[in-house]
């Protein structure tokens, strides 16, 4: 087995004069993407009150219809500032405490399961005493 190929920092820096981009590769497009990302990010930072961080529950439904509800992160070992990696760590950790709910596939619909329930809910939400006094048809 061939030995490991090692270069010291000084050796590597010495070869920098022979720098060459792999044949057929143009990295200007990538550099432009990064510049664009930076510009976009700075715009978001300077735009007032357009983005608020909301701690929402994350729901994931698997092929069997099980829905996992992952609690929103709360303070403590918030890995903010560690970005995606931190967020993913949190999700992974919190999955230990996740709620697993079996969803009835028949109910995965925008229609109510029982029309009477929907009517009752509708009435509760929109109930107005003054309207109710003068409206007998409903």
């Amino acid at each position: 087995m061939a030995g490991i190929v090692k270069y010291t920092e000084e050796e590597l820096r010495g070869y920098s004069v022979a720098a060459v981009v792999p044949e057929g590769i143009d990295l200007t497009g990538f550099a432009e993407i990064v510049r664009s990302d930076k510009f976009e990010g700075e715009e978001l930072v300077t735009r007032p009150n357009l983005r608020k961080t909301k701690h929402r529950e994350t729901k994931q439904t698997d092929a069997d219809g099980w829905t996992v509800t992952v609690p929103a992160p709360k303070g403590g070992r918030r890995l903010s500032g560690q970005g995606e990696e931190g967020a993913r760590e949190q999700i992974r950790e919190s999955k230990d405490h996740a709620l697993k709910v079996k969803t009835n596939s028949k109910n995965i619909s925008s229609k109510p399961a029982d029309l009477r329930d929907a009517i009752a809910e509708k009435q509760t939400i929109t109930f107005n005493a003054f309207d109710a006094l003068g409206d007998e048809e409903d």
């Binding site: 490991i4 190929v5 090692k6 270069y7 010291t8 920092e9 050796e11 590597l12 820096r13 070869y15 920098s16 004069v17 022979a18 720098a19 060459v20 981009v21 792999p22 590769i25 990295l27 200007t28 990538f30 550099a31 993407i33 990064v34 510049r35 990302d37 930076k38 976009e40 990010g41 700075e42 978001l44 930072v45 500032g81 560690q82 970005g83 995606e84 990696e85 993913r88 760590e89 992974r92 950790e93």
Partner: protein, 207 residues
């Protein structure tokens, strides 16, 4: 006879026009490249700007290379660490290893990391190139291929440099942690911490 020899020898003389140069005098003509121990892939994570974006949408391989000269060509062509947007990452990983815990070559490992909390006091370009050189030059480790990759996280209030390893064996990893401290020019009082991917609730050990 002697005249004939002189005439023939004239064509062999080293004159100023064609005789004094070697391949070492011209970078363009010097095509010998120095192979690295492994091929490496540079990855970039773009900042998340929308809730609909998934991690897989943000992470992209940029380019793969296998020689010292290609490393420098790429390094000179991509944005410097200090030019990355906030919430962006650079990852340099060996071969085709993806910079994710889910990659089976990472799943049993972990990462050394250090967070620079005062960004203005840090020459991140110098520290990142030192980290890059220690990885591609294989001087960050004693064991061959223990290091899977290195990561730079750029955040609003800090930079974080990480070294991902394929195992969590403290005996072989502590020397990598010590070397990372030297690479990042940390004091004795500063500590780098190692966290296992399988149990990220607390550092497994620090040096």
């Amino acid at each position: 006879m002697s005249e004939e020899l002189v005439q023939n020898a004239q064509g062999l003389s080293l004159d100023e026009n064609n005789g004094d140069k070697t391949v070492l005098d011209s970078v363009d003509e010097f095509n010998v490249k120095h192979p690295l121990n492994s091929k490496w892939t540079l990855w970039y994570t773009k900042p998340k700007v929308s809730d609909s974006e998934e991690w897989s949408d943000l992470l992209r391989p940029v380019i793969k290379f296998g020689t010292v000269e290609e490393f420098w060509g790429i390094y000179n062509s991509v944005p410097k660490a200090s030019d990355l947007p906030i919430k962006a990452d650079y990852h340099l990983f060996r071969d085709d290893i993806r910079p994710e815990w889910e990659d089976e070559r990472n799943s049993k490992g972990g990462r050394w990391s250090y967070q620079f909390r005062r960004k203005r006091d840090v020459d991140i370009n110098e520290l990142w190139i030192r980290t890059l050189l220690s990885a591609v030059g294989e001087t960050i480790e004693d064991e061959e291929n223990e290091v899977n990759g290195i990561v730079l996280n750029v955040r609003k209030s800090n930079y974080r440099v990480g070294v991902w390893t394929k195992s969590t064996n403290a005996d072989s990893l502590k020397s990598i942690g010590q070397k990372l401290k030297l690479i990042l020019k940390l004091d004795e009082n500063d500590h780098v911490e190692f966290i296992s991917h399988a149990d990220s609730s607390a550092p497994a050990f620090i040096v």
